[in-house]
Amino acid sequence: MPIKVQCQECGGTIAVPDDALPGEIVSCPDCGTEYEVVSVDPKAGRAELKPAEEVKEDWGE
């Protein structure tokens, strides 16, 4: 059961896998903001995230 965390940027719901490891990158389904997993507590259904450094990807046009 993934743990639901609210996105700080847009309020969307991020699904963090309950077996995610600290340092793993997850992203918001709505706005794409990336977060680094700080810790996961599957029992309490809680996960702590911090904004990840984003590499700008060129879009081409």
Binding site: D30, C31, G32
Partner: protein
């Protein structure tokens, strides 16, 4: 569920009519009892809508619309504006439920018809009987309504993108530029020299740089939903696709509103539980903002935005399939509410991709 509600369609040979037939063919609660066309009376529906071969086994009827309506529980009118106004009042006398696709009953203010449609509305007192058929803004009124008026396709796209900002006071400059790009099906199925493939292919054709009639309903709906007045500076362009609309709305605001979180909040609060609204805004991948390409065939309205600190501008992007959310999809959604069906019935087909 057995198909107990009898519906018919006047203007069934047009593009909106065809889309209504396509959707309703998969609706478990309704039976299509008549598809009206003057030009194709007696012909098989699939001769005009070849996609429906093997789907709908029906012939067009040329019977008088009043006759058609008298055998129906609900009638869709997908005829040109100016035509509906001649038919609809007669049908209202029958007590049948109606969903009008034309503009003839969209505006509340009769004088607006003179300004924007250049005719004097012959039934000004009927206008108030129609609910503007965007469930996202008028859901409660639509439940159990007898008469609904489906939105204009370009208007639907613009309104859905702008209403949340207007409602939350995030647009402080009264003039909003609405720059619309639309596919050919938005203009219907009637050929003209300008729609000849060799002339229409590959265009970016500014077909209505000023004076677009949907200005009236966008201003009306923003006013209703926000209590404030906005002036719409609209230009519409025909582009090289058949289905789909992208509306780019350029709004200006105070610097204090140049705040993503605030804007997201406005959208989420307005559309929290909406089944057909999606937010599209991504930092990676191919589709970072709304694009009609990814709603084709569905009833979704995709909404996104970008901030321009250089000009204190919030650029609002909204994309719909004009024949679905911009016409038949919203109309069936309204019908579902009017008749007490689950709002999503027959409307849950996912968009196609790639297409």
């Amino acid at each position: 569920m057995n198909r107990t509600t009898k519906v018919s369609i006047i203007g069934a040979s047009g593009y909106v009519g065809g889309e209504l037939l396509r959707i309703l063919s998969r609706h478990p609660g309704v039976e299509i009892v008549a598809a009206h066309s003057r030009q194709h009376a007696g012909e098989y529906v699939h001769r005009v809508h070849p996609n429906l071969k093997g789907v709908i086994d029906l012939q067009f009827t040329g019977e008088d619309p009043v006759k058609v309506a008298s055998n129906s529980d609900l009638v869709f009118l997908s005829v040109p504006h100016g035509t509906s106004v001649k038919i609809t009042p007669k049908l209202m006398e029958l007590g049948v439920r109606l969903v009008d696709m034309s503009a003839d009953f969209r505006l509340k203010d009769p004088s607006a018809y003179e300004v924007w449609y250049h005719y004097r509305h012959p039934y000004p007192d009927l206008l108030d009987k129609f609910v503007y058929g965007l469930p996202e803004l008028h859901r409660d009124e639509l439940r159990n309504a007898r008469y609904a008026s489906a939105p204009g396709c370009n208007a639907a796209a613009a309104i859905l993108g702008l209403a949340p900002l207007a409602r939350h006071g995030l647009v402080t400059n009264g003039t909003i530029v609405v720059d619309v790009k639309v596919g050919s099906s938005g203009a219907g199925g009637k050929p003209s020299p300008a729609t000849h493939f060799s002339e229409r292919y590959g265009v970016v054709r500014p077909y209505s740089p000023a004076g677009h009639r949907h200005v009236a309903e966008i201003e009306q709906e923003l006013r209703i939903s926000s209590g404030r007045s906005y002036t719409i500076a609209m230009s519409a362009h025909a582009v090289n696709i058949v289905r789909g609309i992208l509306s780019t709305s350029h709004t200006f605001t105070d610097s204090g509103n140049m705040d993503q979180a605030k804007i997201w909040r406005a959208y989420r609060e307005t559309y929290r539980e909406e089944p057909f609204i999606r937010f599209v805004r991504d930092k990676k991948g191919i589709f970072r903002y709304p694009d009609p390409k990814i709603v084709i065939g569905s009833n979704f309205a995709d909404i996104g935005f970008e901030l321009d600190p250089h000009t204190n501008r919030i650029v609002v992007l909204s994309a719909i399939d004009n024949l679905m959310k911009g016409a038949a999809g919203s109309a069936v959604q309204a019908m579902n509410l009017m008749l007490g069906f689950d709002e999503r019935t027959a409307l849950d087909a996912p968009p196609l991709h790639p297409v």
